[in-house]
């Protein structure tokens, strides 16, 4: 195991020791990159993002991942971490809630305007994130169920690993419709129909500061920035409800 020491030579990292590492769910990718730029711009330190699925990130945190702040796409994972005493007490907050949309790429052969249209014959396949583990997938399922078409469209469903992949399926024209996060729907190349938020449980983007952080002050600054009016404005612009 002495090569674990030798490999220290690898640590010619390009990031300063003082930078903040934020683990965030993938649906926050676009908005956080913008927020991160603004945060740094305001003279604060640099923020590094580690995007991934909420479940995987939570698992990594359990095993000692060196994150300072965790922003999950669901509340349950943060609750679980809190129970294990990995969260700095009192730092859990709901940042915002996500919305889902019906997304179609340009050039899709059918046009879908409401959930019920998913039953049309022209809609051969529908991509949703896996409802078992992706919060947006769960919301999609709930919406389909409440619209009463879950059973009828079930055979058309393709489960994506995560919400980004869901979009890729639609983007490449391999599914006619995808149920996506509103936050990822702003990218060019498609059209979307916002689904009513009453169709699903709120998708609470929950944040917390992790107990192991060495940058508590900086973490709080980042959280404060997120919760500040300018931060909220950006979140709203990207389709989150604050």
């Amino acid at each position: 195991l002495n090569w674990s020491c030798r490999s220290k030579g690898l640590q010619n990292t390009s990031l300063p020791e003082s930078s903040l590492i934020v683990a965030a769910a993938s649906d926050l990718t676009d908005v956080f990159q913008e927020l991160g730029r603004q945060f740094t711009h305001e003279g604060q330190s640099q923020v590094i993002f580690s995007f991934g699925s909420t479940g995987a990130l939570a698992h990594q945190i359990e095993q000692g991942a060196p994150f300072d702040v965790f922003v999950a796409a669901s509340q349950s994972h943060v609750d679980m971490l809190e129970k294990q005493g990995l969260v700095l007490p009192g730092t859990q907050r709901v940042l915002c809630t996500g919305r889902i949309v019906l997304w179609q790429s340009e050039g899709s052969p059918v046009t879908v305007n409401c959930l019920e249209d998913l039953s049309l014959a022209g809609v051969k396949r529908i991509a949703i994130a896996n409802p078992e583990h992706a919060p947006y997938g769960l919301a999609a399922r709930q919406a389909l169920e409440r619209a009463g078409i879950w059973e009828s469209v079930r055979s058309k469903l393709v489960f994506a690993e995560n919400i980004s992949q869901c979009r890729q399926f639609a983007e490449t024209g391999n599914v006619e419709v995808a149920i996506l996060a509103l936050s990822l729907s702003r990218r060019p190349g498609g059209r979307f129909v916002l689904l009513d938020s009453s169709l699903h449980e709120p998708i609470r983007q929950t944040l917390c500061i992790l107990r192991r952080t060495a940058h508590q002050r900086l973490s709080r600054q980042w959280v404060d920035f997120l919760l500040s009016p300018p931060g909220k404005a950006v979140l709203e612009r990207y389709g989150f409800s604050v």
């Binding site: 479940g55 995987a56 050039g107 583990h133 393709v158 489960f159 690993e161 490449t172 391999n174």
Partner: protein, 221 residues
């Protein structure tokens, strides 16, 4: 969890892997033979390019494949409009995904084995009137069994283990294109740890058993 255990992914994966291994075996041996036997410009480049699928992260490779093979991709479009074949999100796609990862392993290992064969044996076969293909079939290939079996074992394992490419181009359609790798992933992600463990256990055991049989076959005598 509450639902009864789903055996589909296991059977499906087995079929896909066996099929993919067979295809990779055929194509890989063919390519390896061409690479070992014929000297042509760009031979080593071709060899290097064949290895490329190993270098790219599978999901990304899958994404690009999706772009090419998908309904809007030039190849996918051609297949669909001209031949009426749809690839993505079908079992065929799962086979393609598994093959793509198995092939480079096959080509490189087998080529090295082919080149290790004493050329005198091939020459003597030629003097006995054997054409190139007969030489290959009756001398080169049988003398390379060990290497070919080892490569087959690798290819099979790799085919079974592919996740990234599969989920991209075959999708994750339970009961239709869900391979066991994808099923395990899902279970882990969903926190169904015990199910994941059971699946992992079954896959590992059957894989070890199959690999063991291949080994026995390869190193027997």
């Amino acid at each position: 969890m509450a639902s009864r255990f789903d055996w589909f992914p296991l059977g499906f994966s087995l079929q896909v892997s066996v099929l993919a291994t067979a295809i990779a075996l055929f194509l890989g041996v063919l390519l390896a033979w061409i690479l070992a036997r014929y000297r042509f410009r760009g031979r080593e480049w071709l060899d290097a390019v064949v290895t490329l699928p190993l270098v790219l992260p599978p999901t990304v490779l899958g994404y690009y494949l999706l772009v090419v093979l998908g309904q809007r991709g030039w190849l996918g479009h051609f297949l669909e409009s001209v031949l009426g074949i749809t690839l993505v999100f079908t079992p065929t796609a799962a086979v393609i995904a598994a093959t793509i990862h198995a092939l480079p392993l096959m080509v490189k290992s087998v080529r090295a084995t082919f080149e290790g064969i004493n050329p005198s044996l091939e020459n003597v076969a030629r003097t006995l009137g054997a054409g190139e293909f007969r030489v290959f079939r009756t001398i080169t290939l049988p003398l390379s069994w060990k290497g070919v079996w080892a490569a087959t074992a690798l290819a099979f394992a790799r085919a079974l283990g592919d996740f990234g490419v599969t989920i991209m181009i075959a999708g994750n359609i339970p009961g239709k294109t869900q391979t066991v790798s994808v099923a395990i992933y899902d279970a882990v992600q969903a926190g169904r740890d015990s199910e994941a463990l059971v699946l992992t256990g079954i896959v590992s055991l059957s894989a070890v058993a199959i690999l063991y049989l291949i080994n026995l076959h390869a190193y027997r005598k």
